[in-house]
Amino acid sequence: MRIVKTDVVVIGAGGAGLRAAIAVAEKDPSLTIALVSKVVPMRSHTVAAEGGAAGVIRPDDSLESHFEDTVHGGDWLCEQNVVEYFVAHCAEEMVQLERWGCPWSRNDDGSIAVRFFGGMKVQRTWFAADRSGFHLLHTLFQTSHKFPSIHRYDEYFCVDLIVVNGHIQGVLTIEIATGEFVLFRCQSAVLATGGAGRVYRQNTNAGIVTGDGMGLAYRNGAALRDMEFIQWHPTCLPGSGILMTEACRGEGGILSNKNDYRYLQDYGLGPLDPWPRAKAMELGPRDRLSQAFWQEDRKGNTFQGPHGSYVHLDLRHLGSAKILARLPMIAEAARTFAGVDPNIAAIPVRPAVHYTMGGVAASITCATSISGLFAAGECSSVGIHGANRLGSNSLSETVVFGKVAGTQAALYARQADAYLGPLVQELAEAAQAGALSILGSGKGKSYSRSTGKSIGKSTGKFIGPGDRVATLRNAMNDAMEAGVGLYRSAEGLALACNELSDLRERYRHGVALDDHSRAFNTEWLSALELGPMIDVAQDIACSASWRMESRGAHQRLDAPQREDSNFLQHSLAHFRPDAPPVIKGAPVTITRSQPASREYGGAGKRAELT
């Protein structure tokens, strides 16, 4: 085992991880930073964010308004003190990105352009065409080259956190290219590992969005908060789940069913006119739009295709000049992946899993319950999204709280005691032994050196007990899609919880690998990812069972109302190795917005789309 001593480890190098690393370097250039990621930073899933990042800059906008939209959008399950901090720091982070080179789209006079987004009453979404996440990520990645104290460890896979007496002391990784174990010993760490969308089958997420970072923190004693709140994005390509950004609707795109009827007007988002207007019809929030699709589907009003039902997202009336300027990637993706040119036909879309509102419970300073471990971005729950995230709040979150986490990790590292002796190494060796037992090394070489043709047959031998990675993963995906979907019930959730308990057992029994070698063994890494991933899936199902009400993205057919008397509280899940998690309620911080009825649509002024 190779050992690298560093002051701060940042796990994950997407928007939040890169921003955190830069914040550490800015706070104290004398601290050494190990930036560890299972992919080269620019492959991180931030790259696929399309629509933009929220930040108040218009004269007709206010921080108060951004706060209200966010809390209202989150169905009052937000930590309001954290939302206050968040909205006050978005614009400065957007400006910072601009100064670092991010090519935000501009108005003709050279000022920053902002667009409408769902659930936001004023234009406040900064965007770089429809490649906002791509530009944010590459700007941060390229800017990180400025700081000599940031040492990158690209393609190092995180196996476990090393926690001694409740303090983070190290991070055990595998260097993917060689299969060598590398232990980073640290004073503090930032967890920035992204969401868990891949526990579902139909999702917009990259293959790396496996929730294993959340799962590792959870296994090591950190609580997961509000995991039942999973966001379905309403406009995704059927089958692949490839995202058609909300900016399509922010720019004026419309949704209609098979009868060419704009069905959103029937689901509390109308009336149709005057159109467009903020927070109404297609500019409603994601939970309501996805739920409206589900209802339309049950009524038989959707189109039927080879990958399930769908509705139409129509951009044709925007004109090809606007589509090219504002939505070029969408046009390209629709052509390539759906065979549809949005200039001449409507795009088939349906909801798909997009975002994990919950995550590792963290305070306003990104502190988790593990001392020295700070969490930021999608893997964390600092509490700004509540029961439903508004589009364009998450890209802003990555940089606002990435900076907080990095700054706090730097302060902590400066004050922390010296490395805690031999126990760290012992724990790391135990974690290494666990990972090696999954690899099943020593059971013989299974890699085929056959130079002849092997047609349609496995070259590997199925050594050891257990299921293939894909078998377990598919079973997990099926359980989640069937029982923990857009609308849930006690019965369906119970089935899912049982199935996921069984899967944990099957996983523990062993995973059958074809490949028992060390160098670049991605089958082994997938098997390692799958363990914490199943734990996270189980927690999502159990938290959804616990919450006997409907709020935001969590809808129960058997409890269709919001129940503030019992459930105006977070869910907090604690890991148990041999049983489902213990779920408890935890108070919500309310500062100035008392829970009220969550309304969209209604009367309003016609909005000028800019």
């Binding site: 250039p29 992919v39 080269v40 620019m42 492959r43 899933h45 790259v47 696929a48 400065e92 982070e93 400006v95 910072q96 601009e98 100064r99 670092w100 080179g101 090519p103 501009r106 006079d109 050279g110 000022s111 490649r131 590459h138 390229q142 800017t143 080259h145 400025k146 000599p148 290219a177 990259a206 293959g207 790396i208 692949s240 490839i242 080879p306 390209e332 993706a333 390539t336 992946f337 299974s446 085929s448 050196r449 056959s450 043709k453 092997s454 047609i455 349609g456 496995s458 070259t459 590997g460 293939r468 990675v469 894909a470 074809d514 490949d515 070698s517 160098a519 670049f520 063994n521 991605t522």
Partner: protein, 256 residues
């Protein structure tokens, strides 16, 4: 949906622990018309041979992970479809000009080193000579930048670092120190950004044989670029900057 058809995928395999050289292996893969080459490889990994190794992530041509040679041409495998190769076979192998780590995964460190060498960030005037610039407080206002000024660099900021251009470029294969099309495109992106004053720190590399003059204008990089960025144009624009530098014309023009 149409019934699945069968196609053969021939994959170049190489394992550093056991193989002295790469070898071909063939798999029979059922596919539907909407299946990409990447999905074909995923089918192999999930059901036929878990040891097959390739990178992938976003599935939508933006993360830049899944580049490979497909029937001899560099492509992103997520946006290249099996139907277009029917009846096959379709041959996949690691991107050219970079060492194979395993199977279809190549060593990307050459590009990452080149990226560091081009100073890939905004260099403000006062910072241009300092290797570790002092950190300014977050500025209150965004720079004003007209669409025309943005257009000068915007296209070159679209590079997804997929390295297809490195596989396409004969000079990358011939000169191991050549910075390569993507890195030089990003250099141009910063040089042309009105907010940047970093030419002074970038010119030594740009002017060298490993910089823009390493390019012999074959232009295949631009042909294979999945984002239509035209790296060849970017590199050759910088030959103009570089020539100005050499002749002193740049200094003369700036004095006006």
């Amino acid at each position: 949906m149409t019934q699945p058809r069968m196609i053969q995928i021939e994959c170049l395999r190489y394992h550093p622990e056991t193989d002295s050289e790469p070898h071909w292996q063939t798999f029979d893969v059922p596919f539907t018309d909407d299946m990409s080459v990447l999905q074909g490889l995923q089918h192999i990994k999930d059901t036929l041979d878990g040891s097959i190794t390739f990178r992938w992530s976003c599935r939508m041509a933006i993360c830049g992970s899944c580049g490979m040679m497909i029937n001899g041409v560099p492509h992103l495998s997520c946006e290249t479809f099996l139907r277009d190769f029917y009846p096959g076979p379709v041959r996949v192998e690691a991107l050219e000009n970079m060492p194979i780590q395993r199977d279809l995964a190549v060593d990307q460190s050459r590009f990452l080193k080149a990226l560091q060498s081009i100073t890939p960030y905004i260099v403000a005037t006062q910072e241009s000579t300092s290797p570790t610039p002092a950190v300014p407080a977050a500025p209150a206002l965004a720079t004003n930048q007209s669409p025309a000024r943005m257009a000068a660099y915007y296209q070159y900021s679209q590079c997804i670092n997929c390295l297809l251009c490195y596989a396409a470029c004969p000079q990358v294969g011939l000169n191991e120190n050549f910075a390569g099309p993507a890195a030089l495109t990003l250099m141009h992106r910063y040089n042309n950004d009105p907010r940047d004053a970093g030419w002074a720190v970038r010119s030594e590399l740009a002017n060298s044989n490993d910089g823009v003059w390493g390019c012999t204008l074959v232009g295949y990089c631009s042909e294979v670029c999945p984002k239509g960025i035209d790296p060849a144009h970017a590199v050759n624009q910088n030959k103009i900057h570089s020539a100005f530098d050499y002749t002193g014309l740049k200094t003369l023009l700036e004095k006006k």
